[in-house]
């Protein structure tokens, strides 16, 4: 008998993902993303002049990445003010995104990337990163590649892809946020909590890389369908 996960998925099966670019009229680029129960909107504004000017870098542009969760997006109502978790995620996900963008083309400028989580069930940061690179492409920002992200980890003794909240609460749960540039396999995001042996880590990375290629196809399809729609 083949073991399955609580929601019927295979060990390395992703939850259903839906990506729709160009959903916010006033933004320079945007994307709506569903990933299992997770729902979010990303908007990109810029490149534009960095203000106040003393924060600008005369050599290259900057990504200002802001991740926020709505009060109703989690089981217990969240305070509307950004918490320490929001700020940490904004920092590391923004850094991961920065690697892909050709920032040297925007000296002294900033690109604002805002993510609003509307509903959540584990894995919002990798979903946000995946959606953000679609929104950047939608905005026409030059990038060396998309950034593609997945969570991998461990629950109940199995190394699995794309944990849900129930699995994240397992006694032995490990949640690992992973992102790479799918062309070069350059790893730009890696955050993990929980106990993993070296072998388990290797296995998790292997799955993560495979799954990123799968997610990348969805990103490309979403962008293609937009440009197709534009042509028609």
């Amino acid at each position: 008998m083949v073991k399955k996960r609580v929601d019927g998925r295979e060990m390395n099966e992703l939850r259903p993902i839906k990506i729709v670019p160009s959903v916010i009229e006033r933004a320079d680029g945007s994307a709506y993303l569903e990933w299992g129960q997770n729902k979010m909107i990303v908007a990109v504004y810029g490149p534009k002049e960095m203000l106040p000017k003393h924060l600008a870098d005369s050599q290259r542009g900057k990504i200002n990445f802001i991740y926020r969760m709505a009060p109703f997006s989690v089981p217990e109502r969240k305070n509307p003010k950004p918490g320490r978790r929001d700020i940490e995620i904004s920092k590391v996900v923004g850094e991961a995104l920065s690697h892909a963008v050709l920032l040297e083309e925007f000296p002294g400028m900033v690109i604002d990337v805002y993510v609003q989580i509307l509903d959540s069930n584990a894995g919002t940061r990798v979903a946000a990163l995946t959606a953000s690179s679609v929104a950047l492409a939608d905005a026409g920002i030059p990038m060396k590649d998309l950034v593609t992200a997945v969570a991998v980890g461990k629950a109940n003794g199995n190394i699995i892809a794309d944990l849900n909240k129930y699995e994240e609460d397992a006694e032995d749960a490990v949640d690992m946020a992973f992102a790479m540039l799918p062309g070069s396999e350059e790893i730009v995001l890696l955050q993990a909590d929980g106990i993993l042996s070296e072998d388990e880590f290797d296995k998790a990375i292997k799955i993560a890389k495979e799954k990123c290629q799968e997610v990348k196809k969805l990103q490309i399809e979403a962008l293609k369908s937009k440009f197709k729609a534009l042509k028609e």
Partner: protein
Amino acid sequence: MIDYSYDIEMVKGRIEKGIRTNNRKDDEYREIKIETGILKNAAGSAKVTLGKTMIYAGTKLEIGTPYPDTPEEGGITVGVELSPIGAPEFYAGPPSETSIELSRVVDRGIREAKTIDFKKLLLVPKEKAWFVYVDIYVMNHDGNLFDACQIAAMAALKTTKIPKIDEDFNQIKGEYAGNLKLEKLPVLNTYSKISNKIILDPDLNEDYATEARLSIAIDDNLNICALQKGEKGFFTQEELKEIIKTSKKKYKEMRKIFEKL
């Protein structure tokens, strides 16, 4: 991006000639689309588009202590977030005065119409009652946030489920005791005065050209239950009368939308 290149004077000129985008009439709303029940962690939720203005609203219920002067009542809190996603002029940070006015006008329209019977939210007198939090996100700003936010709040409230609780008053995850009952279905109508003309549901260009703004909440008995004038211009008494008449006329049309939810 929406093209806002034409200037305020051009908008005024068009309004004077009675021309609105898509040949809209002065007392006509843009197309309204509502989806509800879209967010699982929210007790109630809605996505509303009013033309190109896009709003998400979600509700949460929490158990709190009744206020000393209303020991047998729960309560409601409405907050509007002008998310930086929704417009280049919005920014991340504490609520602006625009956001606070918007929150309070939407809140008062709902509260003053007695939309929710706060006594029905009581669990234990003086000790425990349900408090309803309505959080509203402006995701694309193309004008008339007042009415769009009110519709989103009403849609989220009307589809709100009350959590089941155990004997320790802890919410039981994913189980519900029933729906939040809305006693009334108030409608908010917002008007702009531009070059001495009054138009309903201003879009973003019309918002920019607005000299004075009036928001009016009408209840099930066609009474006025809240009013808010804004911006630096003025209204005459005759203009107010005209607005009230229009709003009473619009009430049935809008109510149908809420009834269908």
